[in-house]
Symmetry: C2
Subunit: 125 residues, 2 copies
DNA sequence: CATTGACTTAGAGCGCACTCTAAGTTCTAG
DNA sequence: CTAGAACTTAGAGTGCGCTCTAAGTCAATG
């Protein structure tokens, strides 16, 4: 007997992850849930710790503008097992470059916004 | 006589700004072009240096996730003249906070991605 | 002065990522 | 054992930001 693997309902999972229940179901339908979410004593979903961790990583991929289709590619690689590790690494390294580029662009834009803010502050003196 | 204010056609403006001619017309229709783009010797648009500079700044607002509607708010303030400077400053300061938050979230996501990359690299040894 | 290519408008269409609805089923509290 | 809340599915709807189309006008070139 373990106390581990709490196994959450979809609304609990939604609360933990900050996503809506709609979005969690949508992600599952789109094939983004690594192993398929378990169903407990019925048709109701049960989210394991592993499911929650994966959703959290998935959210990080999404928040760095990885499209759903690319996330699915990654998921498909994971499903293929250890043999796909090099491909997963390549995919993440490519994505990493895109994140760096986004950070760079956003930083440059911030500088332009700060410059404009400075002119407004100067003008008000 | 000056050599300044080159005044570009829409396709030249598109080339300079990296936007499509479709998008430039769309932005104008949406009321995002500060003073209204001039028409030269006909109905054809002529983009002044000021227009181009504005499009460049507008692009920075957009690339930091400012919605079109918010850009339009900003434009409306600019049209109201100097009297709106405090409001423009407030709008940009608020947006600045959102940009900082986005940079922060993206940086955290990058760390998670880098961590995953590291596990793949370690595993392959 | 005709052809050809860039331009014009109004409006329809598209892709993405959700977000919601409807109709029905299942769990939980009293 | 029943009422009500929470869950289920399939599929429709939404919002945003473009992106494209159609039908026509304008202008520079041979």
């Amino acid at each position: 007997m373990t106390l581990v693997d709490a196994s959450l309902s979809i609304s609990e999972a939604a609360e933990r992850t900050g996503l809506s229940t709609h979005t969690l179901r949508y992600y599952e339908r789109e094939g983004l849930m690594l192993g398929g979410v378990g169903r407990a004593s019925s048709t109701h979903r049960r989210y394991s710790d592993a499911d929650i961790s994966w959703v959290e990583f998935l959210t990080k991929l999404r928040s760095t503008s990885m499209p759903i289709a690319k996330v699915r590619e990654y998921v498909d690689l994971v499903r293929r097992g250890d043999v796909s590790t090099p491909e997963r690494l390549a995919l993440l390294l490519t994505h990493r470059e895109s994140v760096i580029a986004q950070l760079d662009e956003m930083t440059k834009s911030l500088a332009a916004i700060d410059f404009k803010i400075a002119t407004y502050k100067k003008g008000s003196k």
